[in-house]
């Protein structure tokens, strides 16, 4: 399954899912129960997952906004929140 897309698109994958998959790949490789071809492909996927998680963790930017509520009670827009 992981062979089909050469560059798997992980951008939509939530952090926790990626982390869990990475953990299972590491466990599998550590047990050494995989064939050569599979070990290479899952290693590659593990690398990709690791990078994806890193990307998600690096996007640690604090942005605080306040919703501007319109007369109809709906959100009209946002403005920077100043305490």
């Amino acid at each position: 399954m992981s062979d089909q897309p050469k560059i798997p698109d992980l951008s939509a994958m939530p952090f926790e899912t990626a982390l869990k998959e990475l953990e299972s790949i590491v466990a599998k490789l550590e047990r050494g129960e995989v064939g050569l071809e599979e070990s290479i492909s899952i290693y590659e996927r593990g690398e990709a997952l690791k990078s994806h998680c890193e990307v998600l963790l690096k996007k640690a930017e604090l942005r605080i906004e306040k919703v501007i509520v319109g007369n109809d009670g709906k959100a009209k827009g946002v403005e920077p929140f100043v305490d």
Binding site: E16, E30, E61, E65
Partner: protein, 552 residues
């Protein structure tokens, strides 16, 4: 006077009447709950008891809280407060008054609110709004966090602070009033507003919502107990974390939220993980991944090498078959001739064996065998004879020797036995004569003892006999003096009946009865009565029976 005669109603004393009233009142209002406003309360009296009144627009009742009860009250009375008091009605006969002795007191407003809240909870629970299967999972690492709270105050600051500490994120605040009349509708609107945001719209749609408020009184938190808030929270498609009041405060929204945090900072902790820990964990995983892959690869390389080492060299595989081939190639040209020669030799051998089986040859062989057998027979017979001779000679000489030995042994044996017998005999004789001497001695002793015993016994024996004789004589004399014969000698006689029985009474003597009289000097036969003798003495007795009167 005429009035008293008109009625026979019993006459009470004041005390009796007051007592009866007291009993009646206390029995009828054993324990009551009464709602009213506290009036005239000035704190506990110096005695520690509290005296005040409960009133409403039309009536008033005195109230007492005893010192002991007052200390235990969760809620202390305040002047003018609407309360629900629980207690006992008693009377005070000394003043003709009655009062309530309060043991529990609660604010009427709160009680009503709580009752309303309980009712709402029951209704929403019945609708299934609190069901565990309605709860959504809160995302592990949200991109955007929507916070519904007051934009001012400690709560939002605490949340922002905690989130930026753990994992800086995009925080979107929907400002609401967290207290007062409009609180509930604003909160409900905010929840709906966040949910109605498009996923890819101008305003980022949150991945998780936090509804937060700091601690406060029940009335302060009341907005979060309103049904519209609870319903909006339960309808929210975005997972919702509630953090209203302190940990001990539970509001209606807590029952419908997907996760209840004890405090606003607690909510921040539930919503984002700690980034540094995740980075650490990820780094660890990455190195484990690389190591595991490397080890796996190295293991394969080692396995491959060892397999290669075990693989034989191609040359060595071929060398043996090649050697065999060369050998065969050399042998091939000579092999044909050798084969023919081998067969020729075999043929000539066969011919020789065939000749050997001819009748003449067989005859010669049989003759040879016969001759040889004959010779062996002669030889063995001679040997046998010789052996036999030898044996006879040997046996005779051995027999002689044995006989000689037997003879000497026998005579020796006889001699020995004789000597032993003689010895035994002489010992036996000596023993016998010794025994005889001993016995004779013993006999002699016994005879002596017997004689002495006899000599000692004789005088004693004669004495005993003399004594016995004397005793017998004495006894004989005594017997004679006591005998009836002495009585007879004095002139008495004994009269016997025919049967030989002594007659002791005249009555027993019948007329004509045969009698026998014994005197000292002899017996006389006699007949009773007039001297008529009867040959059948019993008969006259039988006949005379009816005429017994005649006898008298």
């Amino acid at each position: 006077m005429s009035d008293t005669s008109l009625t026979n109603a019993p006459e009470f004393s004041v005390s009796e009447l007051s007592g009866a009233i007291k009993r009646t009142m206390e029995e009828s209002f054993e324990r009551v709950r009464v709602r009213g406003e506290i009036s005239g309360y000035r704190g506990p009296h110096s005695s520690g008891h509290s005296y005040f009144a409960l009133k409403d627009q039309n009536a008033k009742i005195d109230a007492i809280i005893w010192k002991g009860v007052f200390g235990r009250l969760k809620f202390k009375p305040e002047e003018g407060m609407e309360v629900i008091a629980t207690g006992k009605i008693t009377t005070f006969p000394g003043k003709s008054s009655y009062q309530i002795v309060i043991d529990q007191i609660e604010p009427a407003g709160v009680g009503a609110l709580l009752a309303q809240l309980e009712e709402r909870k029951r209704r929403l629970a019945a609708e299934g709004l609190f069901a565990p299967e309605r709860k959504q999972l809160v995302p592990y690492l949200p991109e955007v966090i929507g916070v519904i709270t007051s934009p001012t105050g400690a709560v939002i600051r605490d949340i922002i602070h905690r989130i930026s500490d753990r994992f800086p994120r995009h925080i979107l605040i929907w400002p609401v009033r967290v207290q007062g009349e409009t609180c509930a509708s604003e909160v409900a609107n905010a929840i709906e507003g966040f949910n109605s945001l498009e996923p890819d719209g101008n305003i980022a749609r949150p991945d998780v919502l936090i509804v937060a408020r700091g601690g406060g009184s029940l009335e302060d938190l009341w907005g979060f107990n309103e049904e519209i808030v609870a319903r909006a929270a339960s309808m929210s498609e975005i997972p919702l974390v509630s953090a209203v009041g302190h940990e001990t405060d539970t509001t209606l929204i807590d029952f419908v939220s997907d996760l209840r945090a004890p405090t606003p900072t607690g909510a921040a902790e539930f919503v984002v993980p700690v980034r540094s820990e995740l980075l650490l964990g990820l780094g660890d995983l990455a190195s484990r991944l690389a190591n595991a892959a490397l080890r796996l690869h190295q293991r394969r390389v080692i396995e491959l090498r060892s397999v290669i080492r075990a693989l034989p060299v191609a040359e060595s595989l071929l060398s043996i078959p090649r050697q065999r081939l060369d050998l065969c190639a050399v042998k091939l040209p000579t092999a044909l001739r050798a084969g023919v020669d081998k067969r020729r030799i075999a043929l000539s051998n066969e011919i020789r064996r065939f000749h050997a089986q001819s009748p003449q040859m067989q005859l010669i062989r049989y003759r040879e065998r016969l001759n040889s057998n004959n010779q062996r027979l002669h030889a063995s017979f001679n040997a046998y004879i010789k052996q036999m001779k030898q044996i006879n000679l040997n046996d005779f000489s051995r027999l002689k020797a044995v006989t000689e030995r037997l003879k000497t042994t026998l005579s020796q044996y006889v001699h020995n036995e004789k000597v032993q017998l003689i010895n035994t005999h002489s010992r036996l004789r000596a023993a016998l004569s010794a025994i005889i001497v001993l016995k004779r001695q013993a006999n002699l002793n016994n005879t002596l003892m017997l004689k002495t015993g006899y000599l000692r016994l004789q005088p004693t024996f004669t004495q005993v006999i003399e004594r016995k004789k004397l005793q017998i004589n004495n006894l004989w004399k005594m017997l004679n003096t006591l005998s009836h014969k002495q009585v007879l000698a004095r002139g008495y006689a004994i009269i016997w009946d025919g049967e030989g029985q002594a007659l002791r009474s005249a009555v027993k003597v019948l007329d004509g009865m045969k009698l026998s009289i014994t005197f000292s000097d002899g017996d006389v036969k006699a007949v009773a009565g007039e001297g008529q003798t009867s040959s059948l003495p019993k008969k006259p007795v039988q006949i005379s029976k009816p005429g017994q009167g005649n006898l008298f």
